[in-house]
Structures are given as structure tokens and as C-alpha cells.
Point group: C2
Chain length 131, copies 2
């Protein structure tokens, strides 16, 4: 299953490993949601903000800048008036889509199980509180 990789050049468990820095970035909720939102095609800033419910304009800008810097998102500004800006995944960004879709699919598939586990855990705790 390739979960160990003791002979690899990089080890994500190491605090100073470059792979760790990358994981820190992509294991971020807004990053994941933006990637998913752009997976189906380019979007302008406003539409993107509307699609990713709950994101503030500040966090969206910040996330997009980070993804742009890492070469995963392309920013295209058209000199209309008012200005039009479109964001699109680069090939690098697209290569990440499968992985994040995996996360989303897992979330969808296990909502019920997790809800059950939470209820079991919480009732267990409150029962203990009565002892």
C-alpha cells in the first residue's frame, strides 16, 4: 500500500522536509475547496467566492495568491471596465484534483458513520460524568 517509504528521499514526518511544507499547504480547508471549485472550469473572483460558501474575500484572495505562487492556479486579468479576472487550474493544479476529490468522496461516503461515532462518544462521556 506504500504507506512507509523508509528509503525515500523525502519523509513527510520530518519537520524540515519540503514535502511537509507542501502538505501543510494542501491540507488546508480553503485550499481544498478552491481546488474543487476550479476543477470543473475557470471562474471569476466573484463567482468563485459565491461558490465556496463561507469564505471571506480576504481568505479567498490569500488562498488564490498562495496557489498562484505554487504554480497551481493561473490568474488572467482582462482590461475590461470594470476589470475581469479569471482563475483557472494549471496542469499542476489539475494533477492535484484526483487527490482532493478522494477526500471529498470519502467525506460524503462516511458522513453517517461519523455521526454515529460522535453520538456514541458523546453519550459515553456524559454517562461517565454520572458515575
Amino acid at each position: 500500500m506504500d504507506t512507509k517509504n523508509p528509503t525515500e528521499r523525502y519523509d513527510v514526518m520530518r519537520a524540515d522536509c519540503p514535502a511537509r511544507q507542501i502538505l501543510d499547504r494542501i491540507a488546508d480547508k480553503w485550499t481544498v475547496l478552491v481546488i474543487l471549485a476550479l476543477a470543473t472550469g475557470p471562474l471569476r473572483f466573484g463567482r468563485l467566492k459565491a461558490k465556496v460558501e463561507g469564505v471571506s474575500q480576504k481568505m479567498l484572495t490569500q488562498t488564490l495568491r498562495g496557489l498562484e505562487r505554487d504554480g497551481m492556479v493561473d490568474r488572467a486579468a482582462y482590461p475590461t471596465v470594470p476589470v475581469t479576472v479569471e482563475y483557472a487550474l494549471t496542469p499542476l493544479g489539475h494533477s492535484l484534483v484526483d487527490a482532493v476529490v478522494g477526500l471529498r468522496r470519502w467525506s460524503h461516503a462516511h458522513i453517517d458513520k461519523i455521526d454515529q461515532a460522535r453520538r456514541r462518544y458523546d453519550t459515553g462521556k456524559s454517562e461517565n460524568a454520572n458515575l
Copy 2:
């Protein structure tokens, strides 16, 4: 590629969707690292803390409690002296391993590309600063 799912019962883009809450949890750096660390087998608290470099005891405890509550990690305490506590993935936790391994694999595979993109982005910015 199943990136849209307009007819699905849940939509992760919605702020109040249960799937969003789950994604918020698993799209977290410590969660991902703990899942990876336990993927190869159970670990005691101390060994786990050593393996996941950089995690504080507080964040590790917090992350483990969250995962335990969601039914993804099992906590077993043995009445030795001093006490021995072992953490292991549940079947539910194991079912998430493939997805997070995907993230790690992607990170490993694209370190160089991202480094290049960053240098390009940063030098581009500083050149613009001279205009």
C-alpha cells in the same frame, strides 16, 4: 471524473453541509500526519509524538481526541505502571488512509515543480517592483 455531483444529497461547497464539517477536520495538517503515522500500525503516545515531528503534546492529544470521537482511532489503555496507552486506526480510519496517502504521494512527486514555480513567481514580483 466526478468532480461536480449536482444531484448529490450533500454538497461540500455549502457551508452547512455535514460533508463540509468532515472535510474541515480531515483537511488539517496534524490530522493527516497522525493518520499517516498510524497507517503502518498502532503506536503509543510517546512514539507517535516522536514520529510526527514538530507536533506539541497538546495538539497531538487534541487531534487524537477528535479522531477518537469521529470513530477513526481507537484508544487502548493498559493498567501497567506507568500506564501504557496505544492508539490504532479503526476500520473507518483505515478507509481514509488511501486518500491521505494520495496527498502525500502528490506532495512528494511535485516538490521540484512547486519550488520552481515559487522562484519564478518571487523573481517576477521583485522585477515588477523595479518598474
